[in-house]
Symmetry: C2
Subunit: 317 residues, 2 copies
Amino acid sequence: MNLRDLKYIISVAETRHFGKASERCFVSQPTLSGQIKKLEEELGVIIFERTNRSVEITPIGEAIMAHAYRILEQVGAIQQLALAHQDPLAGPLRIGAIPTLSPYLMPLILMPLKKQHPQMKLVLSEEMTDILLGRLHNFEIDAALLATPVDEQSLDVIPLFDEPFWLAYPREHPFYYKDEISRSDLDKTELLLLSEGHCLAKQAMDVCHLKDRKGQGDMADLRASSLETLLQLVGAGFGSTLVPALALRGSWASGSGIVARKLNLKDAYRRVSLVFRKSYPGRKALDEFARVILENLPDTVSPVIARKPVKKRTRPP
Amino acid sequence: MNLRDLKYIISVAETRHFGKASERCFVSQPTLSGQIKKLEEELGVIIFERTNRSVEITPIGEAIMAHAYRILEQVGAIQQLALAHQDPLAGPLRIGAIPTLSPYLMPLILMPLKKQHPQMKLVLSEEMTDILLGRLHNFEIDAALLATPVDEQSLDVIPLFDEPFWLAYPREHPFYYKDEISRSDLDKTELLLLSEGHCLAKQAMDVCHLKDRKGQGDMADLRASSLETLLQLVGAGFGSTLVPALALRGSWASGSGIVARKLNLKDAYRRVSLVFRKSYPGRKALDEFARVILENLPDTVSPVIARKPVKKRTRPP
DNA sequence: ATGGGTCATAGTTTTTATCTATTATTCTAC
DNA sequence: GTAGAATAATAGATAAAAACTATGACCCAT
């Protein structure tokens, strides 16, 4: 059986005329006759009782027809479904982002995104880098906004922007009167870190040339589980911390006993990228998503101008 | 799109593996890959996100799959339907019969038919010859039991039996002491006829060498609309009438003031046949129906032994 | 009878699907 | 890291299916 055959018999059933039916199907009359005959032989039943002068459908043919209509209906549904999704921007885009980025980046782009692509649905999740990579591989998300270099063969990367780190410290701190912070300044302060797993913690330590003290416990006791908590601690005078630039735009930024200053260090930034499976079919949607992000960044971060060089591809175009 | 393609994608969706899926479909892996790729191009959507190591279904693919399952379900329904009807004896057989035959023949064959072909369903209708022929041509019945020769090219005939006419007359009639009736006897009696349209009326007149007096009115007043009514009239002494042999077996046959005698005439019979469209596809069912009739006839009628010679056929075997 | 209309058949050509062999890629194991 | 196993994609050849044109058989109407 074949969908074409079903179209043929429906055409004949509706016209009661092989010639007219064949025209309607854009095939010759012998073709139509032949295919219908083949179908009848395959099913072992006569669908049409025909003479030279008349074509009439048999009772069993009538029953078959009912199913044929339903089948073609479903086929149409598939085609319509596919058509609606042909726009690569359609369909939910499942995006994961790290917790030190998501709350500060998403508010910037959600409105513009909705304005430019009203039909694009986002499903957001907020997890630490390793979790997100796992989810990428498990096909649970389509792309991840990460701040860590990724070098896995199965993943591809769209670099987005470099986000500088600032130092946040209590207003009562002696740094209060400085405009910029140098590395020597950093050594003089107690640095508060996020709990393990957050890439920001490691990045902060790298910037400050601290050795990872994981497992030692003395400092671990002070580690916070979120950037907001961390800033609460800073405000309460427990120490200072590194904050990525986008996080400075929150409501706490002014009048919460916290001061933030730019770091006068060359490598005090993290590169934020959009990471996705090379095999992910919605590349266009991701490109568009990345574009919207880049267009709505504040001045505090530096967009990556040069897009990544084209890597050798699995399948030539 | 193609039903084969739908089987392919379902197979891949279920195995998440092109190789295993292709085995399950009894085709090579490249074949499966190629067809799925073609389907994806036709629909303009990616159904499977695949790398060398993994195959995962996309959201739109998932949606398509739901419809694909329903389609194949319907296809199965068609095949099952067809299988159930492959037996040519299956399906309702729509039989028409003339009123002077139906009430007397049907009781003879319904039980044997049910015994031999329990799955064969009959739909009976009782009309006069012309009506039945019209219904045959309108595909409203599949075959008709007639007592009139039919010579239409589009119709075919299975002769069944010759049914003699008997003379029915009131017990008080002088014929009462005769065993057989000759033509000269016929002239001496008032012959009652069925109303116009019944073939029996014309046949009776032919047998008696009467001219058709339709429109004259004198005799028409006495015409009855059914054989039962006619016999009531005979019983009441209004005259006598010709009765086909099978009708003699009714309950009125004894003790109702009516006597029936055989006619001593060579041509005093009518040939009962099964008539159907040449194009009717259930020929086998009709042959079987005819066989059951012939096997259950009483001695009062003469089965036609020699089956009709094969006429030139529309399509050589 | 004859001609028009209609479906079936025959034979050929075109299109489509399939196969085998091979390539490219990536993961795993040593 | 390098070799090997696994897996999907590609290429080219072959087989199968479906399409077309031309023709035939038949019925009906004039």
